[in-house]
């Protein structure tokens, strides 16, 4: 196998090369660094692919779909939001093999980076972002909970945000069989997202439960701005590419 292809398989992670990304992601803790990693890793993969001039072999798309499916299934039982994010990144990164274009990589990775920052804010306040730790985030820190919910929805491809149009673009590009697998992967990620939201947001906070300072207005406005940018990105993809 071509070494450059192997490098691309590490950066647009295909199982088992995806273990490298997971290890690097687990090792890096600062939210900003994680956000940069989520943005840079797949873009690097696309750059390697473009620079090497390799045409991906036919068997790579089924492999990418299998990788995406594997991580989506595995995410259903995850409780650690950080690990959940890494798996989502792997799953989406692998799917870039279906349509390896930088614009799509940006549109797909930007919500992940936003989610990484939001998770960082949760970990900073509560010590973890793990289903049940904290629970009842909506009651304890309503603003943070709202931003977190929107960031998760943006990450999994909820219309009309940019990632939705990425999924749409992949589905329209893929063969019918691949499109079915794509839809199954999408469905699984939606399910996994609901479980994650349920684990962190829902519940009744005891009166004496810790209630750290909620996200400030500036943070909320920044998050809103980011979401608007994602929305605009989605519209651009829809208008310019589909």
């Amino acid at each position: 196998m071509n070494p450059k292809l192997i490098l691309a398989a590490c950066l647009l992670p295909l199982f088992p090369f995806s273990l490298i990304f997971n290890a690097v992601f687990a090792w890096i803790r600062p939210p900003l660094a994680r956000a940069a990693l989520l943005l840079g890793w797949p873009l690097s993969g696309l750059w390697v692919l473009a620079a090497s001039g390799i045409t991906p072999p036919d068997w790579i798309v089924p492999w990418a779909l299998a990788t995406a499916l594997l991580y989506a299934l595995r995410a259903l039982t995850l409780r650690d939001a950080g690990q959940w994010l890494a798996y989502l990144s792997v799953s989406l990164g692998a799917l870039l093999w279906v349509q390896p274009e930088p614009a799509l990589a940006w549109a797909m990775s930007a919500p992940l980076a936003l989610l990484a920052l939001v998770l960082g804010a949760i970990v900073k306040r509560y010590g973890a972002a793990f289903a049940g730790y904290p629970d009842a985030l909506a009651a304890r820190s309503p603003r943070l909970a709202g931003v977190f919910a929107l960031a998760v929805l943006a990450a999994i491809g909820t219309p009309p945000l940019s990632s939705f149009f990425v999924w749409l673009s992949w589905a329209l590009t893929a063969t019918p069989g691949a499109a079915v697998v794509l839809l199954v992967v999408w469905l699984l990620w939606s399910w996994a997202a609901i479980r994650l939201l349920q684990g962190l947001l829902v519940g009744e906070a005891l009166p004496e439960a810790a209630r750290p300072v909620d996200l400030g207005r500036a943070g909320v406005w920044l998050a809103a701005l980011a979401l608007v940018a994602l929305l605009a990105g989605g519209l651009w993809i829809a208008g310019g590419r589909i």
Binding site: R79, D80, G82, Q83, Y126, G127, A128, F130, G132, Y133, P134, D135, L206, P207, E208
Partner: protein
Amino acid sequence: MTLELGDSLRVRALVYVAGERIPFFWPMRGFIHHNPLHGFEPLPFEDAVAEGAALFHARVFPTRLDRQHALARGEVDGSDLVARITAFAAARPPVAGVDLARWLTTLARDCPHPLLPDGVPSAAAVAAVLAGRSPEVAPPTAPAQVAELRTRFLGGCPPLEAVDALYGTTLAETLDELTIKSCLDFFDEGQSAWAMPGRSRGFYYAWRDLARRNLRFALRGLRLKQVLDATKTPEAMIVHVMRELGIAEADWQAVITRELARLHGWAGFVRWRAQAKRHYWAQQYPADLVDLLAVRLALGLALLRQHGRGGRIPASRSQLAAALDARPAEFALRAAFHAGTLPAALAAPVERALARGDAAALARLDRVASAQRQTDTAEAAAAALRALAVRAGQPGALGRLDAGALASLLDSVAAFEAAEGMIWLYAAESRAVHRLLDAARQDDPPPRPKRPFAQALFCIDTRSERIRRHLEAAGDYQTFGLAGFFGVPVSHMALGHGGETPLCPVILTPKNVVPELSLAGALDTSALSALEKTLHELKESVFSPFATVEAVGLLFGLDMIGKTVAPRSYLAWRRRMHARRDPTRLLIDKFSREQADSIVRAVQRALIVKAVRREFGLEAERVTDDVVRELREAALADAREAPAFAACARLDAPRVARFLQALRDDYRINHDFANAQMEQLGRIGFTLDEQVGYVGQTLRAIGLTQQFSRFVLLVGHGSHSENNPYESALDCGACGGNHGLVSARVLAAMANKPGVRRRLREQGIDIPGDAWFVPALHDTTRDTIALHDLDLLPSSHLVYLDRLREGLTAASRLTAAERLPELEPTPAVLDPQTAAARAARNALDWSQTRPEWGLSRNAWFVIGRRQFTRDATLDGRAFLHSYDWRLDPKRRLLETILTGPLVVGQWINMEHYFSAVDNERFGSGSKVYHNVAGRFGVMTGNLSDLRTGLPAQTVLKDGAPYHEPLRLVAAIEAPFEHARRAVEGVVAVKRLVHNGWVRLLVVDPETRRAHLYEAGAWHTLDRPVGAPAHLDFKESA
């Protein structure tokens, strides 16, 4: 497996004892207010709520924050609170340099949350934190962990709950779901289109038959057949499961209690149903708690086996015990991890270590978690103590405490936080006692120069207080209060209904039946009613809804628009479309033996004529009376021949014999059935003696024995609301959760009878000839009073009717104007007419989740003359029972009031108390999510425990208690010794008072002193009645 009789009885005894802790749940058609901790009433209140809290996992006192808000609103006696906290502090060891009373008072009044929510931390650790050092922490020891784990997860803990707590599964939740579905199948009372087969065999046997071939269970992977084949009877199944799970016999009682308490709504319903001998569905389809428990345990065992197949979770208690002993650190971490109590940062590492089964990592993480927990607790306690010291005005005091003093302080704070629920409760009740005494009067009413224009007897219900006050202010009206069944327990058979409805408090069983008869001819269903019935049947059947929606769905849409856009006009139009209801009469007189016999014979004759026509096509003209008599006598005499009939019908002897047998078997012309009919007829109506007794006792009980007005209104009450499964909760509790009109009609009919009046006159109650008892209904949602049976009113009274109606209308509107601002945001002063219109709209608005507050905020039960509370505005919070001790030298009447109305009042009060303090566990949560289940209860969502108690909309406002959680303050206006002896004479009430379930106050009109029972003794309050003052206690001898 079969059981000896003794073993079966033992199982039944265990279930019976466990069931005693579960309150009854009555079908919601007649909502009965009850004490959710009724099974704990033999215990003192404080102990009972502690045990109830543990069993039902519920809160039993309002939060401190709620009490602080109540204090700010003036609902708690601040000085009493301080006095009680001071007394508490004085009983604790002193802490040098700390004004303990001040600190605890500050804690209660100024700190919104508990200071030590996670238990008492080590004083040394707290001292270290206060000194700015890192606390030294003690590592967990295996024996201590094993002991704690065994206490929590073995013993009385149901096995599935233990597995869930340790492995993060949801088996107990799944078991609840399966049990509820089984219950819904069996207990359905006509809601389902397809009924469960074999229900007449009883719950367990019907379920067992079905479960063995139920695909739903098979698809879930439950091998239920294996479990069910092991035994046949429910008792044997219980024993089998207990043994299979390895539960020691000593723990069976505790496990069974916990299993039943987990779905206490369903268990309470089954428990009630098992003893409701006259409940039709219980007669047809019997079930009891043993059945329910057997079903639950069988399902539980199958679930546990299913999940234990891979060996990942222990399938029996012995396996679990061995695992706990072998790996305490792992299980301590498991319990903390799944309970969400681990330090957050450790959650992910613990999950990974558990997944890998890495014993070394788990041991290390356990030490880290323990250390972190101890440090966090110590730091939180130190921070809270520092803040408390500053608030208490002794900021430097903590720095001067040695380790011993700090430990003593922490212990005192923890003890206070455990006891403060009762302290707050007493202080809030003290305020209620003050308010009542301040408003009360001790003088005798001035003599009336003439009789009042009208007298009105209202139910003691708290909602009557307002309208009574306004009616008295509106003119020359005198009002009385008594239990809304007017002292006559009847079983009512409404027109067009086959069943009986008991109209009396549930603690009584009515012996007499009162059927309702129409003055019109045979009932004819109107076309609209028939159409409505057809639509409902189409909607509820299995296949037709699909076509129905397409075909006539628009009709439902029109109905919806009408109810939403213009509810008053639309519903008035719909009412006009229905056939007008003709006047009815209640059959209150008993049949003589001859009359009853004649009725039975007439029914038998009619049946024989019908049978002859059906079997042989012989019309009435060919069947003479003699032939019918011959057939009847032959059937009853067990004969095989009827020559005249044989000749008339031209039948041979064997055919006649077969027909006679059919008459006996199919048409029930036999002695047994005739006797049963005679027995039923014997229950109808009252003898003259009974009628005289009931009327006399009722009038004497309220002190109305002279100066009868021209109109004596008997005002029952009921509510009207749309789309409200809880409508009957707003009806009359004294009438078994039904409207009180029938009871009023029954007593009015009795009291208007000349024969009854003649006998009463002989007893000294002289009801003049022009006094007429008029039944009426107080609609508590609309605040209206409607008069009934006016067609019976003597013509001499008609000229006064307008004045009466005007008085009632004025009282209604003023009541609405007083009540509406509490129900919805209104301008500062609401015009009475507008208020009445808004109240009327509430009753018709199908989106209204709170048509009225009902009995919320009930606080007092006053037994005394009206004069006692005449000047008091009690805001619809008092049960007012009229009583004149001067007419009751032997205390019989007072004992009757204590036995019935007071006990019902206490149930209502406790229902509101617990629904307000923990609406999710003791109440029924928000109405918005409710769905009717089986036509007898409601569930939250599509599947839940039956919701008992009151909905959030009845007791909470904006998420905080609207109902003020207090124990009922019962006040008796009577000489102290008179009242005390009456209370001591009624065992049930004595127990309630002595155990603190009711706060009893006696206001002595002779000495003009008030006496309060508290802490096991009577205390004379050192204050005059009727003037605001501070409350002091003096223990009496």
